[in-house]
Amino acid sequence: MKKAIKGNHAVSHGVRLSKVGVISAYPITPQTTIVEALSEMCAGGELDARFIKVESEHSAMAALIGAATAGVRTFTATSGNGLLLMHEVLHWTAGARLPIVMATVNRAVSGVWNIWAEQTDSLAQRDTGWIQIFCESSQELLDGVIMAYKLAEKVMLPVMIAYDAFFLSHTTEIVDIPDQEPVDRFIPPYVPPVSLSFDNPRMFGGFFATDYFYEHRYTLQLAAQEALAYYPEVCREFTRDFGRTYDLIETYRTEDAEIILVTAGAITSVSRIAVDQMQGRGVRVGLMKLRLFRPVPVDCWRKALEKATKVVVIDRNLSVGLGGIFASEIRSVLYGSAHRPPIYSVIAGLGGRDVTPEDVEGILNHVIAQDKPSDAPLFWGLKK
């Protein structure tokens, strides 16, 4: 059934279709409409879930430690500061191997308030052990949530679905909402590998001394590798069942591209327009959209960029003192590659500043004019 809905509501429908058992959330703009819709779904009986209306994001995530350990499918959503408040618990939930799914509506964080789009909040969680998937459209959000449960419950790692505040969260698009039955087939009820049971009582977690902690951390790394290997299979099965295609990354007109633009999230959409316009003018430029960011699909990234003469990474995020986080990650991945094109790091759109197709063209033209990238990132559109 196709319906014009907002990005946040696409997430809510994904959660509903995934038959989540326990939801726990705390309101924060721009995440709120996800949980408002979920509250209504619970109240209206469309979703048979317990919704714990906690007193903070920290508790929102912590509640899911209890719920997921007790063997129930769980969901939460947050943004910006809320995500940062969860930070400790993110490490915990990943380490405890709890298959929680969370939507993070990327919102700027700093020493002043801003409620608009920036990905620094999610990217600050990249070392927690969570699987991170960046989305661009409402359909991708709905589908992404359903696929996230399949992935999470297979490899026993939590999954974060990240997307831009307002640009996606509050934008209405036409979304194909699947029927319940195929979703049920795609993700059967969650059965944890070890059940919390009274007949065979176990202790979950606890104190790991030096004799096992190191190995414990290594098993996390292995789980992430497993996720990387399994994600394409999830995508293939999704295509089989629902007809829509997803992969580790998405490429656009890169076949003959000399310059490849790398983006994640909503900037991808405007970048596509810019690529079309510049290709129309004979500039051989293509686009690589990052979807799975953690674990890093190293081979996939290298292969996509193996023919590029220049790589331009637009980051709507900032690792202060370094620059764009995606650029940094791409740089580190390509360093081990035989083909090492120059990487142009561009910071744009922080705190929800609009990035238009013209901005992207401007960025590309700027890069074309450069012989080699500067060490410092380019802050595009800065009021000078």
Binding site: G21, V22, S24, A49, R50, I52, K53, V54, E55, S56, H58, S59, A62, A63, L64, I65, G66, A67, A68, T69, A70, G71, V72, T74, E88, V89, W92, L196, S197, F198, P201, R202, M203, F204, G205, G206, F207, F208, A209, Y212
Partner: protein
């Protein structure tokens, strides 16, 4: 004649959901309290441990000394982790279970307060137990907001012993309109057993405040744990009482006091607080003036309690 334990003998003798091998210090009151609590709650109990001594000595991976499911969680999250577990058990359709948080005073009075307050206000169907040893004992005896006035700790050393009163956690919890609030002490195991049994049968948020002597932290002989905890009650420093919600009649307009206070242990003789303080090394720096002012405060609080209990 001797007071008889009312704990059914079979439960006392056979139902041990806690096994030995735990690495608690000699004379620690916490495992003793847990033993009694689990006897009352039975095997369909989930225990949630935030960071605390118990979380360590219950057994390091891959060992557990409790024969009930345990969920470990971050220090400040126990009340909400328990809320999540309780919600999940209800989603799973598990009946007749209880999710019990077993948190120290730090995980209750201090860092655990926010999640606890949230869970209490939502009247989550959990049992939150604070085993209060009145300082951060696991990290080596640092002051907490549960540390009593006049106590020495490593962060309130000689020259700056704690001058502030202990936080009144019981009133804080009652201010959340929870379903059940009680204090208990392993020195009165019968009372403790009954309260855990009672709490198990009440839906909504239950809070039990346990006094839990810590021989190294209190600077006492491990053999005197129970004796000193008994003294805490006999001197009214730690009164043993419970507060239930009074059922409000629907056909009355009159709004009466919501709480039904019951004092469960009355001191048998009038013991001055000084004998409690002087029994412990941690109060060795307490001045006579402090003891006198504490006596007054204890007397006043006891009087208030007696009045509330009617």
């Amino acid at each position: 004649m001797q007071k008889k334990f009312e704990i059914p003998r079979q439960v006392l003798v056979e139902q041990d959901l806690m096994q030995p091998g735990i690495t608690s210090c000699q004379g620690c009151a916490a495992p003793l309290s847990m033993k009694i609590a689990l006897k009352a709650l039975g095997e369909r109990t989930v225990v949630v441990f935030p960071a605390c001594c118990f979380a360590v000595f219950v057994g390091g991976y891959p060992y557990s000394s409790l024969k009930v499911p345990i969920i470990h969680c971050p220090f400040e999250t126990s009340a909400v982790v328990a809320s999540g577990a309780a919600a999940a058990l209800s989603v799973r359709g598990e009946k007749d279970t209880v999710v019990m948080v077993w948190a120290g005073d730090g995980g209750t009075f201090d860092i655990g307060m926010q999640a606890l307050s949230g869970a209490a206000e939502r009247n989550e169907n959990i049992l939150f137990v604070c085993y209060d040893n009145e300082a951060y004992m696991n990290t080596g005896i640092q002051r907490s907001s549960a540390t009593p006035m006049g106590a020495w700790t490593t962060t309130t050393p000689e020259g700056c012993i704690k001058e502030e009163s202990k936080k009144d956690i019981e009133q804080i919890m009652l201010a959340h309109h929870i379903s059940y609030m009680a204090t208990a002490s392993a020195a009165y195991p019968d009372d403790m057993f009954k309260k855990f049994q009672k709490a198990r049968g009440i839906s909504g948020m239950k809070f039990i405040h346990l006094l839990s002597a810590c021989p190294p932290g209190w600077r006492i002989d491990p053999a005197h744990t129970i004796k000193i905890m008994r003294l805490a009650t006999q001197t009214n420093v730690f009164p043993i009482y419970e507060v239930c919600k009074r059922p409000v009649s629907a056909d009355t307009e009159q709004i009466t006091e919501e709480w039904q206070y019951t004092i469960n242990v009355f001191p048998e003789k009038n013991v001055p607080v000084g004998s409690y303080f002087k029994s412990q090394g941690r109060f060795g720096l307490m001045t006579d003036e402090m003891i006198q002012s504490t006596q007054k405060r204890v007397d006043r609080k006891w009087q208030e309690l007696v009045e509330k209990a009617g």
